[in-house]
């Protein structure tokens, strides 16, 4: 299994990273991290946090930076590198508690040829 995990800097995205990294370490799987910004935090900031986190967990993963159009770029990366699965944070909640799927998640769910896992 070679997963591509998308990290946008949200707490949920780091939860996704923990899950993928934990499983990869146990099973000896490879995974790639795609870093993109969907909010206030800069790409550099998010990437620094990601490097810290994988060092703490003790896994090795390649990191790709996505500057624009995260949905489309995630699909491109998967096609290019042959990932089996895309893992994304997919459960942010609105003030009344409704699950909200952002544009990136929506694009990936509708366009990916691989399985997509949304972490909640």
């Amino acid at each position: 299994m070679h997963s591509l995990v998308g990290i946008d800097g949200s707490d949920l995205s780091f939860k996704a990273l923990n899950e993928v990294a934990g499983r990869a370490r146990g099973a000896g799987d490879r995974f790639t991290i795609a870093v993109y910004s969907s909010g206030d935090r800069s790409l550099g900031d998010i990437e620094a946090d990601v490097r810290d986190r994988i060092e703490t967990i003790g896994v090795d993963a390649s990191i790709e930076r996505i500057e624009t159009d995260p949905g489309g770029e995630l699909i491109e990366l998967t096609e290019r590198d042959g990932h089996d699965r895309i893992v994304l944070p997919g459960g942010e909640k609105s003030p009344v508690g409704k699950i909200q799927l952002d544009d990136t998640v929506e694009f990936v769910v509708l366009n990916a040829r691989t399985s997509v896992t949304l972490v909640r």
Binding site: P95, G97, K98, Q100, L101, D103
Partner: protein, 171 residues
């Protein structure tokens, strides 16, 4: 046809209305001592009537969710029939001066005009509290709800493949 051009007026609680089945329904602001009645309504709620993950399914999550939506600074209207809560509408602050709306009516009470009255009443309460803007998100396939919101004056602001966002200026 005048409904389409003239949005429904908003009326503040308490009110009593008679629904299409002839049931007298009381609409009141949620009182703290009635919290358990609200929990009861959601425990009786059918899973297929959930919307975008709410109400939660189990009791523990339902209680946690209710604490959030009935919390300080939010507005809640409950519809009563024969000592039970059968409908609930909420306005929850989004941290940006506006409020998100959500509304639920118990299955056996749907299709009788209660949703419309609960909605008018919670918006009446919001108007009284000088709320400027209310927004909501709704699943795109849920035409009965979308029709109700449009009838009340909500306008579409954002369309995605799954959801529709709508807003209403309360002035």
């Amino acid at each position: 046809m005048s409904d389409r051009t003239d949005p429904l007026s908003f009326l503040s609680p308490p009110r009593t209305v008679t629904d299409a089945e002839g049931r007298d329904i009381e609409l009141r602001e949620l009182a703290p001592e009635n919290k358990e009645h609200l929990v009861e309504m959601y425990l009786a709620f059918s899973p297929e009537d959930r919307a975008q993950g709410i109400p939660p399914i189990d009791e523990k999550d339902t209680r946690k969710w209710l604490e959030l939506v009935i919390g300080e600074g939010n507005f809640n209207i409950v519809a009563w029939h024969e000592g039970r809560v059968v409908g609930h509408a909420m306005l929850v602050g989004d941290g940006d001066e506006d409020y998100e709306l959500a509304i639920f009516v118990l299955q056996a009470y749907q299709g009788a005009g209660i949703g419309t009255e609960v909605l008018r009443t919670v918006l009446g309460l919001g108007q009284q509290a000088n709320i400027d803007r209310v927004w909501l998100s709704v699943e795109r396939w849920n035409s009965p709800a979308i029709n109700l919101y449009e009838k009340t004056g909500f306008e579409r602001t954002k369309n995605t493949n799954f959801e529709l966002e709508m807003e209403l200026e309360l002035d």
